[in-house]
Symmetry: C2
Subunit: 314 residues, 2 copies
Amino acid sequence: MATVSAPKQVSVKEDAEALRKACQGWGTDEKAIIAVLGHRNAAQRRQIRHVYEEIYQEDLIKRLESELSGHFEKAVYRWILDPPDRDAVLANVELKKSGNKHHVIVEISCTKNPEELLAIRRAYHARYKRSLEEEVAYHTKGDTRRLLVALVSAFRYYGEEINTTLAKSEAKKLHEAIKDKKFGNEDVIRILSTRSIAQLLATFNCYREQEGTSITKNLPKDSSDEYIAMLRMAVRCLKDPKKYFEKVLRRSIEGIGTDEDALTRVIVTRAEKDLKEIKELYHKRNNVPLDKAVDKETSGDYKDMLLTLLGNEV
Amino acid sequence: MATVSAPKQVSVKEDAEALRKACQGWGTDEKAIIAVLGHRNAAQRRQIRHVYEEIYQEDLIKRLESELSGHFEKAVYRWILDPPDRDAVLANVELKKSGNKHHVIVEISCTKNPEELLAIRRAYHARYKRSLEEEVAYHTKGDTRRLLVALVSAFRYYGEEINTTLAKSEAKKLHEAIKDKKFGNEDVIRILSTRSIAQLLATFNCYREQEGTSITKNLPKDSSDEYIAMLRMAVRCLKDPKKYFEKVLRRSIEGIGTDEDALTRVIVTRAEKDLKEIKELYHKRNNVPLDKAVDKETSGDYKDMLLTLLGNEV
């Protein structure tokens, strides 16, 4: 369930006016911006952007970018976008970074349902005049390329039908590859990137029954090999996205310093979906409510924005 | 342009009645079936199926299958289906065959536009409760798997923008791989399966300019290696689908015996699209009109059906 609270009926025109007012004159009224945008769902935000542009002949997103700064600006910018467009931006930002770490690509391709992933690929076309898989393939190589291109290109079947014989035989195939440390094995990539989620869950269950331990436990945990790290992450995302997101939040908060990019990304992308359940998982796992942890780790308008999206009145 | 002639306004109810009448009593009135279905476009055929089922509580397709036989039955069955559903069936029929020859998969993935290919993947889900790429990956291996899965999973960008520098460098990459006989090279598969058609045409042009010969001429022609044959076919489909289809028609007709499957497939899948241009290419290349060649090579109701779809009154 969502954590964000949006009234069913809103006056989009009044919202546009309030945002305009918040951006005018000396200084910016960040609280007013949070009061409006932090309580609007994706469809309402889209309408606000349209109406704002119609009335003021200016792009609301560009205006906000020029008014705001730092982590708060990033959170508002991510939040205001349509979800598929936002994920296209997140993917592109990661692909432009140097290095071979592509965790956001794995997250996007393995936690979205087939129609959502397709919408992201459409949004990528529209925004960057290229296909997502084209960019992923261009920026990667070897096993990483084979895994990531297959994951982002998938249009998985999303029915609930399960083939138990197949689950058993593919659990065995996965185990053999892992046992022999053949992590880039063709079948491993094929199974993870093409099977339906229902079928994969059946396969992971068979794996545990056959081997007495879970596939995630069998995959090297603190691998310096980025490919193996992404493979493990893909399995975790496919198996249990909520549990995966709880862990990303935990990691982003724990230790010295905060990983604001990860914290913002999970809160913004899940606030309209399942952040309520993720919060519950977090509370159970860490003995502290997520809101409290966020309150402690962040500050200023950025903090207010995140707490609002988490369902608090600030 | 299409060759099939369908009136703009038709009485779907009368069509359903005519088909019912053609199927009742002693024998089947094949001519009546051709007179109706051979002159209806995809949307009209879909409506006829719906109305027929509503009135007579029976599936028109199943009824026709029980009434008709041989190549004529196959042609009618292929024709009556929605285009994406028909391609899903064609793909599935090929995947169920033993052997590693998957020409129809290459044809479907490289001659459809991105939205058409996506519609076929949806139709595959609906009909077979699996994804197309899942099936392709399961039934193939090695280089063939890597090429085919990438081709069927592609959702290419379909804009006209071209990056000339990229076209030059990728033409070089293609040439180097071909020169070294590394046909399964990662970059070859990446370029062919992810780049937009506009970008690929620019790359193929650069190839010809740089090497003085076309990429198709550089790829071994009569290779006994099925992978190389499919790679060459993919390039031909991506470069010029109409020219490719003309060749399929020519091959299906020339020599001793006729390849009815290929002949039916091209006529049925292109009759509502570009069969007119393909016919012109055929005539120019073979000095004989396609209708005349079909008339000579086929017979009976099957012949009448094909000639009708080719735009003739029979």
